[in-house]
Symmetry: C3
Subunit: 443 residues, 3 copies
Amino acid sequence: MTTGATIQERVDNVDIALDTMFLLVFGIFIYLMQAGFAFLEAGAVRSKNTVNILIKNALDSFFGGVSYWLFGYAFAYGEGNVFIGFSHFAHTGLTHTGYAHWFFQFVFAATAATIVSGAVAERCDFMAYIIYSTCVTGFIYPVVSHWAWSDGGWLSRGDIYEIDGQMVQIGYHDFAGSGVVHLLGGTVAFVGAYIIGPRLGRFDENGKPIEIRGHNIPYAALGGFILVFGFFAFNGSSSGSITKPGDEESVASAVVNTVMAASGGAFITLLLKRTHTFGDSKWSFLTTLNGSLTGMVSVCAGCHAYRTYCGFFVGLCGGLMYLFINWAVLKMQVDDPLDATAVHFGGGVVGAFAAPLLTFETGVFYNWNKASVLYLGWQVAGMIAIFLWALTLSILVFGLLKKAGILRVSEEYEMKGLDLPKHGEAAYPAEAYGHGWGDDQNT
Amino acid sequence: MTTGATIQERVDNVDIALDTMFLLVFGIFIYLMQAGFAFLEAGAVRSKNTVNILIKNALDSFFGGVSYWLFGYAFAYGEGNVFIGFSHFAHTGLTHTGYAHWFFQFVFAATAATIVSGAVAERCDFMAYIIYSTCVTGFIYPVVSHWAWSDGGWLSRGDIYEIDGQMVQIGYHDFAGSGVVHLLGGTVAFVGAYIIGPRLGRFDENGKPIEIRGHNIPYAALGGFILVFGFFAFNGSSSGSITKPGDEESVASAVVNTVMAASGGAFITLLLKRTHTFGDSKWSFLTTLNGSLTGMVSVCAGCHAYRTYCGFFVGLCGGLMYLFINWAVLKMQVDDPLDATAVHFGGGVVGAFAAPLLTFETGVFYNWNKASVLYLGWQVAGMIAIFLWALTLSILVFGLLKKAGILRVSEEYEMKGLDLPKHGEAAYPAEAYGHGWGDDQNT
Amino acid sequence: MTTGATIQERVDNVDIALDTMFLLVFGIFIYLMQAGFAFLEAGAVRSKNTVNILIKNALDSFFGGVSYWLFGYAFAYGEGNVFIGFSHFAHTGLTHTGYAHWFFQFVFAATAATIVSGAVAERCDFMAYIIYSTCVTGFIYPVVSHWAWSDGGWLSRGDIYEIDGQMVQIGYHDFAGSGVVHLLGGTVAFVGAYIIGPRLGRFDENGKPIEIRGHNIPYAALGGFILVFGFFAFNGSSSGSITKPGDEESVASAVVNTVMAASGGAFITLLLKRTHTFGDSKWSFLTTLNGSLTGMVSVCAGCHAYRTYCGFFVGLCGGLMYLFINWAVLKMQVDDPLDATAVHFGGGVVGAFAAPLLTFETGVFYNWNKASVLYLGWQVAGMIAIFLWALTLSILVFGLLKKAGILRVSEEYEMKGLDLPKHGEAAYPAEAYGHGWGDDQNT
């Protein structure tokens, strides 16, 4: 214990211990986002479909756990080619260091699948949910994360260019997944909502939307708070380590920019709604909440490398995009009960696009040169590739489910509610309420 | 600061700092399980008893804090004999390093007590609750944790055997407490439910169970999500440190196996319920939730040392055991509103039994030899000892409380609800609802 | 990597990484207190004002984020004079290490503002809320944190005294902010509640209080659990680092004393309410919850330096003070719906006063000498200064808002509820409830 070598081993060990703890603690934070989505969605549906949306959200992480263990992780981070990995199926050959990595990647994968459940809420059949959710966590998302986040992926590699006489590698960059997680999840969500069709009564005969209000705003608020909490970790920990050079800066910047982007997104949506620019001149809580979520989605891609004002500005743009996509989706008569498209697709596009523009010192905005423009080019290419992949695969999955007649519940079930016939459980059984102490007191 | 010695001191200091932070962060995570149990239970009772169950769960950690400070920790981790410790009463002589250890052990102790409150819900008197809860946190649980987790306990020591010419120490192993926490808590819970008797109307005159549904499934879901979140820490941090050799592997494996076991438990219960093997052919959320919880209880004992497939398999077995114990308890006409017996006793038995069988490389399943069989023997001995201890003590406590006539509330209170007469507070006061903006709008 | 110098750099780096992670993880924990306050308050208001209180609590951290970024942090931790800082406006010149510090200080600032929202609940106009909340996070609180927590502040510097021939620096000490956060927040809350006036119907014509019950105790319980969870971090992390000498001790002691103080506060309030000393002889959950919160507020100032029995005792005193201030505020016919004055002002006074008395070895109680008495003197001076500052500024802010006629909503809005006219959103829209499966089943 007194020789330099032993000290060095001990320091090596501390680095590993600290990084392991970093991955696990932040991974556990991110896991809680499952509860965040669950309550955001539970609040947004009618009471008759509450148990249905809760079990879907709960199972996302359990079915996701199994499929990401059996094959999802292998496709994403196994050795393979530039397009897909194919080793470590069912954790074979995974070292223990790999376990922490697996857990950390798993909570991201579960998030991607969860995004979709909101868009098809109140009408998607349970069996169809199990199938599409397994596809997203087990294949659609892992392949894209292989492209963009594994060492060997074609997007993360990019290409080698000669710039000022030096060979420079330039590719797609997406720190916390504006594109990889949210643009992908939002695309699948939109396709799901489009193919499954709107809820009964969502549009009148002229295609005018009729609001279907959720049954519990406090649940939505709880979900929102948990999601902000989780986003600090989601964005903050995407370096994957805390001991490598530059990690502390990345992590701290990412957390601060998440605050900024959430504030920016909340601010602009609150204001535009209140001033009647969009909507009805009220201080809308749900709009502001979605604005802040979109802000945090938007800042993902570059949150480790923005100056604070850029983080705020990206959040503002995310909020604007949310309002626009929200409007456009309704215009298309697509019924996305949770605005998953507006929040995740909208925020994802803003985010993936903002990173090459606003990254400090090297972004196009700071430094218009060959390198920054090539980076922008790769970023656009990556976005298009992710979008087309998600679009194609999800059309396939939801199309086949529809063809097979198992995508959507019957009209009777939809009107009367899914909780009792499908799950045998009511969220609020009437006979469980009331007491015997006289009417003057209370429920 | 330039000599090797000073560097070594600094590295020592980093190790201590990192381990302290590890204990505190994961301990804080585990504390939140109190909220998890509180909402799981609040959702499972009728609205008239909601405040009653919430205050009990909240006080568990406060009364538990005092009793674990005054004597619980002394019995558990004080110097003493193989059966019980008796130093550090009221933290006397505890160093500051000991404070982090105390906090970490306290959150485990509070969990053990909390398990019981569900089994006697909706009818246990408040004074009786204070007494039994103090006994569990302050004595029943600490003694067992002394046996199994303190250096000097008879179960952790085991005995020394000659194997292949070498002297080997073999004893009871229970990484995160399948036996120490859950088998114990589940046994006390069952005894409590048995002695206090079923809620009015829980069984008809022929002994056939009549379901009493809880008033709020979203609360149960919230509790479930928080418990999964907490279990990652509960299982993950039971090494008690992150810097010692092998710690990173233990912690990462424990977290991953917790995901696996929760998935396995959820999967099998969902499936068997749906296929009408148990129950009524629905996708039951509450059963699936309990299945996943039992899976995580089951994996406790060996989660740091299983291959992933074993983690999943242990969870499956836990789920099966849950369904079986759930059925058996009802057959015995015992009313356990939260299925605490099925989840914690059932899961605990599976878990403590699985560890010597499935531990990688050294378990009976991998290596049938004298050492592994002796380990299995010690494990069974430990389970029996813990069960008998918990059984005897809890019969004594609940028996005396019943004898004294203070165990159960009056029939009138039980029928009309506990919240108003005992606490003066209704969960949902009727006059606090409604608004003045016209019926077309809403509540 | 083999030279001593490189090892030293690596150890330096580990220290920074560990401290950064410490600040961020505990900061994220503390952020969740926003959700804790939100649900504590949502449960305590009537259903017609639920969305209103939720959006205020959610925006606290978003508006707070912007104002603390633009100027709050500059006033608090910028270079300046003993009274106020004035650099780093909008993060200019802030290094990346500063980002973690900013985030950590921001979550404290957001907490200070949140305290106020409860006191003026159910009647404060939304615009007025935005203004006072920005003032608190952006100026009133930052200036006081500059006094007491920045290196150059007049309270933290104190003065230099000759004691036993040595020059000793003695000043105001407030580890986690009993005075800086809670006494300040509680004072502003009281002034707000006083100037805005009681809710309609809160006092009868003789000035006798008429209880207005909140609509959902489980929400209050959820808020309470989250706040305890958050307080472990709030108190535990106020050292601001974990690697400096003594840090581990401070952090572990702070967490343990937080358990103790919460227990003490809960214990005394539960008991005194039950024994009819205060109140109506019931086991009151809400009183006990507030008692435990006040205990944790009280222990802030010295939680890192108390023996455990002192932590418990300080919590007891906090609980007593809560009951007293609660009574006194009602006597003055001031309507503070969340008891923010009793919890935060009451607890803050107890806490700031207890630190110089009970700090281990150097407190007046252990060691009555010139140094300890001077420390007590500075502590009292600090409390008075903070109180007068908060009092003056908040009279100015709330007075001007009242003068301008924008402080309070109209009588019609107050009676009919704020959610629909101000936010266009009902917490529980009636049409979102019910299902079509027959009355025998349920809601």
